[in-house]
């Protein structure tokens, strides 16, 4: 069969049922074969970056690799932002790009771009398929590399002539990525070192004020079971309070008595206090980047246990007394084997006291008295009350991201998805499309600003075309709110290039796509508006008017 057909068969064997993509001449042989697949449905996005983001949304919710496809040159280049976004958040995606004909590579022909070179800093690994016979091996390796160890994007660039080559391939003999291929230079560690696990247990036994900090690694999955499930068991068993980074949101139910909130410059006071007063900090799949770390200001820092799959993250930002390298699901299982049952009544009571005082203060803080705009805090309060427990929320970047991160309260089974590391605007809608595609029965809502919405609203067409019933909430303040805030605080209030004048009427825009929507500007209507949004059986857009002076930290 042709390499193009073999590629489709390999993807089917890898369990792929959805591909997000955008065709072009150099990937046409693949598309021709894809159209004949009974297993894989192609979802046509309206911009290649969104194919990558949609794959990312799908991968995050399933814990498995997802696929995006683009053509050579500009198509592939447009994918780069999505690839880099996935790389920063360690999301397993396999990106397949068409390339100009082998003999033309390097001659600057039409739509030629060195995508291998251009994407090199942002991929876990990449392949240029020169020898067609190697394709099945490359696909299996790509899926294996993307999903094991520290997950990440893998790029496969296939020249158009290679796609036509007949190869000797029987799909029945395909060795899928569940059988670890033998790659000399890639042997990710799986289990944690036994001695280190023993030291972890000892440290937990001795600690009076332990604290778990959960990161994005909590969403790494093994056979469909996510790490956060084991982490909850650990926290409860040893009575350890839990904080998290932005990437760790929704790894622990917010209504749990051990829950202390998000750390960092945009985090919660309780979480930052807990971080500074604990005597043992257990970092689970968190690299604690520059936005999270300023919280740790104490002169005598706590003892740190750092569990991470990537040895390079250990000791990069924080010095760990007990490093444990291993697959988080495995390491947690190892810890749970001998974890002592403990009670930290005093420590937890202390934190709960801070929690109630702080949230008490928040309640009495002066609310925006205006009745023609919506106070985001009030909005999220109602949202939290009405959302089904297993809702998936994708947040964009900017003030809407911080509001959502701090005020969204998801119960057990809920899921929060955002571009944490790269902070890529225009992520929420395509990511929601990807997430909804993998879980049609769950409520999936994208929350964005009016700035980021205009980077992605073309994807409303994708949702309509493929019956992907996502909801979009636009927090509209006619500004690039977070930049405005920075300008106010650091640039003497010189507000420049942040005004979104000229934006269209988003409700009319939605209507143009055949999508219903509503504008919410009266506080008394929040309930009704959200009930309508949740009741809709079709995509729905809710525009929420927010005061332009509203701050990120409410």
């Amino acid at each position: 069969m042709t390499t193009a057909k073999a590629l489709v068969k390999c993807l089917e064997k890898e369990g792929i049922t959805t591909i997000f993509g955008y065709p072009g001449a150099m990937i046409c042989p693949f598309y021709d074969e894809l159209s004949r697949s009974n297993v894989i449905e192609h979802v046509l996005v309206r911009h290649e970056a969104n194919a990558g983001h949609a794959a990312s949304g799908l991968a995050r919710l399933t814990g498995k690799a997802a696929v995006c496809v683009a053509t050579s040159g500009p198509g592939a280049l447009n994918l780069i932002t999505a690839i880099a976004t996935a790389y920063m958040d360690s999301i397993p995606i396999v990106a397949i790009t068409g390339q100009v004909s082998s003999e033309q590579i390097g001659k600057d022909v039409f739509q030629e771009a060195d995508i291998m070179g251009a994407a090199e800093p942002f991929v876990k690994h990449s392949y240029l398929v020169k020898d067609a016979a190697q394709l099945p091996r490359i696909i299996a390796e790509a899926f294996y590399i993307a999903t094991t160890g520290r997950p990440g994007p893998v790029l496969i660039d296939i020249p158009v002539d290679v796609q036509f080559v007949e190869i000797d391939f029987n799909p029945e003999n395909y060795q899928d990525s569940n059988t670890p291929p033998d790659i000399r230079g890639y042997k990710p560690s799986v289990a944690g070192n036994k001695l280190q696990i023993k030291r972890v247990i000892e440290a937990i036994e001795q600690s009076r004020k332990p604290l778990i900090c959960a990161g994005g690694g909590m969403f790494a999955a093994k056979r469909g079971k996510f790490a956060f499930e084991a982490m909850r068991e650990m926290a409860q068993h040893a009575d350890i309070p839990v904080i998290h980074t932005m990437m760790g949101i929704s790894s622990f139910p917010t209504d749990h008595r051990l829950y202390c909130g998000m750390i960092g410059m945009h985090g919660k006071a309780t979480a930052n206090r807990a971080l500074n007063e604990c005597d043992l900090l257990i970092l689970l799949g968190a690299r604690v980047n520059d936005r999270a770390i300023p919280a740790l200001t104490k002169d005598t820092p706590p003892k740190i246990i750092h569990v991470d799959i990537d040895p390079a993250e250990i000791g990069k930002n924080l010095n760990a007394a007990i490093p444990v390298v291993g697959e988080i699901c495995m390491v947690l299982a190892q810890i749970l084997e001998t974890l002592p049952q403990k009670k930290h009544n005093e420590w937890n009571a202390y934190l709960n006291k801070i929690k109630s005082t702080v949230s008490g203060n928040e309640k009495t803080a002066e609310n925006n008295a205006r009745t023609d705009v919506i106070n985001p805090r009030e909005f999220y309060k109602t949202l939290n009350r009405l959302l089904p427990r297993d809702t998936v929320i994708t947040a964009d970047v900017g003030q809407n991201q911080i509001w959502t991160a701090n005020h969204l309260s998801l119960g057990e089974g809920g899921r929060f998805i955002t571009s944490g590391g790269m902070g890529t605007m225009g992520y929420s809608v395509p990511a929601a499309i990807g997430a909804k595609r993998s879980a049609p029965e769950r409520e999936v809502i994208a929350i964005c600003g009016d700035g980021s919405f205009q980077m992605q609203f073309m994807e409303l067409a994708t949702a309509v075309q493929h019956d992907i019933n996502i909801k979009v909430i636009i927090m509209k303040n006619d500004r690039l709110g977070m930049v405005r805030e920075v300008q106010k605080l650091r640039y003497d209030n010189n507000q420049t290039a942040v005004f979104l004048d000229g934006s269209p009427d988003f409700i009319k825009l939605a209507e143009a796509y055949g999508i219903q929507g509503e504008r919410l500007c009266e506080p008394s209507n929040i309930d009704k508006a959200l009930i309508t949004l949740l009741a809709s059986k079709q995509p729905y857009v809710l525009v929420v008017d927010v005061d332009a002076e509203e701050r990120s930290l409410l």
Binding site: G117, I145, R184, G185, D310, P311, A312, G315, K316
Partner: protein
């Protein structure tokens, strides 16, 4: 501080670009880099001399290890290091001074590789200190050109870096 890293990599197209790209974007300074195939044709050995403190060295090794094409890395300690670099050095030289250069070459363990009416080209394989001393000796004669291979190294003794 300088560190010598011995890195075994897949002999694939693009490996060098992945490695040099990693050094550039993480802000690691390469002092020298030399590549060649090993006893196994599918594997190349890259010898990197890099500048940095212990933290930087640890990060370099860990980040290199993450590259799928990198098979093995060893940071070779100074005292275990058997290192050589080849230098070709062209010196301006009138015929009447030629015997002086030949004498210097002999004392230094260098070879005379090429002679013309106005120049002599010498070749020396040695460690960094001896190359520097050799260069200093030739300086007064007028050095026209120097080409160096970059350091290659193996660990002393029976231990070897195997895949």
């Amino acid at each position: 501080m300088k560190h010598t890293l011995s890195v075994l990599v897949e002999n694939n197209a693009g490996v060098l670009s992945r490695i040099s790209g990693l050094f550039a974007r993480r802000g690691f300074n390469i002092h020298s880099l030399a590549v060649g195939v090993t006893e196994n044709e599918a594997i190349s050995r890259i010898t990197i001399v890099a500048q940095g403190d212990d933290y930087t060295l640890e990060q370099i090794a860990k980040q290199l290890n993450k590259l799928v094409d990198v098979i093995k890395i060893r940071s070779v300690k100074e005292e275990e290091l058997l290192s050589r670099e080849l230098m070709l050095i062209k010196v301006g030289c009138a015929p009447d001074k030629r015997h002086e250069l030949v004498a210097i070459a002999e004392i230094s363990g260098a070879k005379v590789s090429d002679v013309s009416a106005q120049s002599v080209t010498l070749e020396l394989s040695a460690n960094a200190q001896r190359l520097a001393a050799f260069e200093a000796l030739l300086n007064p004669y007028g050095i026209r050109e120097i080409a160096r291979t970059g350091v290659i190294a193996l660990q002393k003794g029976a231990n070897s870096l195997n895949t």
